[in-house]
């Protein structure tokens, strides 16, 4: 899964394309990331689409609005649940986990 590369490496209009210069952890997998990009972009670039599972029926949810409105991309980030990954910039070594239901703080889990 993490071998997938969905980054745009050549573009006819944009010339400020950036290559990964850092990494984050998705569960136990190291994912390349670009400093300052949202966590969701780093995950999407590696082909990771399921961000959380819903409370009652456990259905998968992924990026939907991409600008911090819809709450579908909430994950557990560094042990904190309900973090909107589409508006949270990556930090080197950050730990990102799929959220189950409402999520739990790491020390409660």
């Amino acid at each position: 899964m993490s071998d997938m590369d969905r980054r745009v490496h050549a573009h006819p209009i944009l010339d400020d394309l950036r290559e990964p210069d850092t990494y984050i952890w998705y569960h136990d997998t190291k994912i390349p990331a670009v400093t300052g990009e949202p966590v969701a972009a780093a995950l999407m670039a590696s082909g990771i689409r399921v961000m959380r599972h819903t409370v009652k029926t456990g259905q998968p949810r992924g990026i939907f609005c991409g600008i911090g409105r819809c709450n579908d991309c909430k994950m557990v980030v560094d042990g904190v649940p309900n973090v909107r990954t589409c508006v949270t910039p990556v930090r080197e070594g950050m730990r990102v986990e799929t959220q189950q239901g409402l999520g739990a703080w790491r020390d409660e889990a």
């Binding site: 944009l14 999407m44 670039a45 399921v50 992924g62």
Partner: protein, 373 residues
Amino acid sequence: MKTTDLLIVGAGPAGLSAALAAAQAGVRALVIDENQRPGGQLFKQIHKFFGSGVHKAGTRGFRIGEQLLKETLEQNVEVQLGYPVYGLFPDGRAVCGSPEGAQEIRAKKIILATGANENNLCFEGSTLPGVMTAGAAQTMINLHHVLPGQRVVMIGSGNVGLIVAYQLLQAGAQVAAVVEAAPAIGGYGVHAGKLRRAGVPFYVSHTVHRAIGTDSVEGVELVKLDNFRKVDGTQLEIPCDTVCMAVGLTPMVELARLAGCEMTEIPALGGVVPMHDENMRTTNPDVYIAGDISGVEEASTAMEEGRLAGTAAAEALGALDAETAARLKDEIRRRMALLRSGEFGAKRQAAKETIVRRCEAFEAGRQEEGERA
């Protein structure tokens, strides 16, 4: 508590233009935005804009954004980023979130330039990962340079759907289909032409019946529509890994409601909007609006509305004399009228006039009530 003469909520094209116009009149505004970056959706627009020279037509949207931001910063406008405004009282007190907790700001005049939300469609499988708004896909490709998928089905052939589909091609994705429920393409023919030349199939009088997949989308089933009703037995499966929805926008009016602004429904501009007069002033005399919150249009109209609101607010604050303000506002209104002309613009022009008429009727009623009391 922080105080300011003019508070502008939203640092998109409308908010920044409002701040710039106010600054040029000598009013220093405070601009607040919940996002980490200014510019709203403008920096995602990598296509050349329509309009005329005065609207910087023929220039790509993000370059217009860079220019606007530069001019705003040159005027020493204060832009506070990462602060969501979530409270607004009719007396002009605003409450926003901040790392230090809730913060109160008292302003003499407020301009709301909060923009719009993307609409969505409900169908079987519409919650599957890989189904997203066109705006989400556009954000990913043009701001973060990441493809949401390899093979995309676009629902909606308005200008947003057409432009984002083209930009997905430019970023290296395939567009498997553009789907439109109406019998004809909704957006400009020239935008559709770019996709057609690239061989993108259009399915008019069709909608998505369901998205297929377990953990993420693997395809869609389209169905033919007859006068917007599904025709049994016409299902057609298209493999794809991404479905984008470009099915309109709804003005974000929550703060205007909190400020006690009267609302009016105007479907041609996206639904319920705050009533406003020719100066973009709402029925709360201290609150102005600009951009998509006052009716969904384009970035170029949002910028003109921002200038209008900024100028009007500066006049109300006493920074401009009536004659200068009238001259400036007339120039802006002339440029704005150009953008609302032609077969596409005329509907928006008419809808805007309706809002102003309703606002005048409301104000007249209020005055009459006051006289009677």
